[in-house]
Symmetry: C2
Subunit: 354 residues, 2 copies
DNA sequence: TTGTAGGCGTTATCAA
DNA sequence: TTGATAACGCCTACAA
């Protein structure tokens, strides 16, 4: 079709080809209704023929808004952003906003942080996904919403999964299945802490309901409860929540508390670690020990793993974050809010009644 | 520090603050050596104080080059791009190029394809990661290199993993372990085909070496070979290579050829499917059946899975693709080349001697 | 409904 | 070594 021309067509070329002024072309581009059908058709035809595409640089320079919003991911390896993006797309893209994605490392060496790059692009707003690095300096004038992860930025809106509720759901699921000796394995992160707290509160509540003494201690805690009491034991390592943490933590948990029949891990990868530790001890999942994760990542959903998990509903978080960002862009004076999305239990093959 | 000013500082503001002309500021920005230390210091100070950041829009509009290159991923869910990006970064970013990433879906609704968006940004080059969709129309004037995946674009350079060699390595590994009844499970993709072909050729070669008749047929093929001959049976489903494919294919493979003791799957996810099928049949990995995957994804490396796999060396592919893109940008007249990166065997726990 | 004339924030080209 | 001044490609009044 087109020969390998070198210079991209400009609005001038289109105008000339269609026999109109550049302004008219601009109007057509912006879908203005105040253009005669004739001219519009001519312009559209010219655009086709010239394979014209407006320069985003020129558009955002000349226009009042860049129509682009930046998404900062903590790490491309954390798959949870995939669903988040879906939700963000729904909320933002359909409003004509362009999404640009970067993780913490993408353009290091050019910019100090991905935020720098976005500010240079004059993004209209920022979505910080996950636990924001403390040192990503964002000017107060830039609308920001933190999606997933607690707000390190006081001025930012937050849309996140309700980790407390999720932790509670995990414990309740296990208790309903008849488990009374529960274990938790987590590490160093705000999310892990919150999930543990929720898990504990559910155990306490179960004890209260039964009119007995329930207790949730940490490894090393003494006190032998009656055999039908629901009790919980937590191992929280001073390390990131990873597969290694899950493995090491579970080994320690089972060494000190062999009576445990159900393990709740701070997230899916950690749960994977727990499962390998359990296998290494010659035990089976879920026959001997039930295992739960958190986040409902693709690995959990995998047929091979089939991990019972808590769905943090990333899509809804993304959608909520997008909507909120739009509101804040429209009115920067808004008071920061914190929205919690209710998680959801996804039961699979790693948990069973005992 | 800075008050929540609304408008970002411009080069004019900096010039005024430093008491110099805009041109001088521009020179400092471009690290020109033809600037007195005094002025430079003054400008730098002003930049600091004003929290100035050049507008990428203005830069690419006024400059001759956009200094950005676009990376098109087939799908953010395919984790292999993570390493690819690392390689690309090494090659491109350090040369002052900005990377912008998009998957097939990111800005759908705004642009017909991610390529559209990149062309609007006037990227200097494109990296197509994975099997390019046939319909991503790229003007002949845009430098392109396909990273991983066969070139659907004749005019594009290709840097990819040597699937043929990888398939061969897989078979050789299994044969060395003493397996003589080999199975392959794959699906509909160029990569799967090539890996199968390599696997077959290694089986044939093993037979030739042994001076016996070796055969590699497909399911349904007749011919009972002597018990010490190395033979291969392949199940190639007319579907994408997914976990389901791996599971269904493996069931079929073992139904028709229960003598198989080692399964090579077209990729890691498929291998996961194979492992679940094997488990469903009450068999163990690797005691009863060895399993291999391809790509060496994080799942394979996971402690829980420990899948023996073929590392496609994505980092090196990324680096190679970046280097080549730079060359092509410098000289668009170059004849397209195809570089194959030698894969690497990563032995883990799913393969064992028999 | 359509066209004219600035201007957006930089780089690039010339002079000085 | 510095400083005017014209592009760059588009949007946005303002006029016609």
């Amino acid at each position: 079709m087109t020969m390998g021309n070198t210079k991209p067509a400009t609005i001038y070329d289109v105008a000339a080809r269609a026999g109109v002024s550049k302004s008219l072309v601009s109007l057509v581009l912006q879908r203005s209704p105040r253009v005669s059908e004739q001219r519009r058709a001519a312009v559209l035809a010219a655009i086709q023929e010239l394979d014209y595409r407006p320069s985003t640089a020129a558009v955002s320079l000349a226009g009042t808004r860049s129509r682009t919003i930046g998404v900062v991911l903590d790490d491309f390896r954390n798959q949870w952003f995939v669903d988040l993006l879906t939700g963000l797309r729904e909320a933002l893209q359909d409003q004509g906003h362009r999404l640009v994605v970067a993780d913490r490392f993408l353009n290091t060496g050019l910019d100090a942080s991905p935020v720098e790059g976005f500010l240079s692009m004059r993004v209209e707003g920022l979505v910080i996904a996950g636990e924001p690095d403390t040192d990503l300096a964002i000017p107060a004038s830039t609308p920001v919403v933190v999606a997933g992860g607690r707000a390190a930025l006081a001025r930012a809106d937050t849309v996140a999964n309700d980790d407390l509720a999720g932790g509670r759901m995990a414990a309740e699921h296990l208790i309903e299945l008849g488990h009374v000796r529960l274990g938790f394995v987590g590490g160093h992160s705000a999310a892990s802490d919150a999930r543990l707290e929720g898990w504990r509160s559910a155990i306490d509540a179960a004890g209260a309901r039964a009119g007995r003494t329930a207790s949730a201690g940490v490894v090393g805690a003494t006190g032998a409860a009656a055999s039908t009491d629901v009790t919980g034991v937590a191992v929280v390592l001073a390390a990131d929540v990873t597969e290694e943490t899950g493995s090491a933590g579970t080994h320690r948990l089972l060494d000190e508390h062999p009576e445990v029949t159900a393990v709740f891990a701070a997230n899916d990868v950690t749960a994977l670690g727990a499962m390998s530790a359990i296998a290494e001890r010659g035990l089976r999942v879920p026959e001997d020990i039930s295992v739960m994760g958190y986040d409902d990542t693709p690995i959990a959903a995998s047929r091979y793993v089939g991990l019972t998990s808590i769905d943090d509903r990333s899509i809804d978080i993304g959608r909520g974050a997008g909507v909120r960002l739009l509101e804040r862009i429209a009115d920067p004076g808004l008071t920061p809010t914190e929205v919690l999305v209710e998680p959801r239990l996804v039961a699979r093959r790693t948990t069973a009644a005992r």
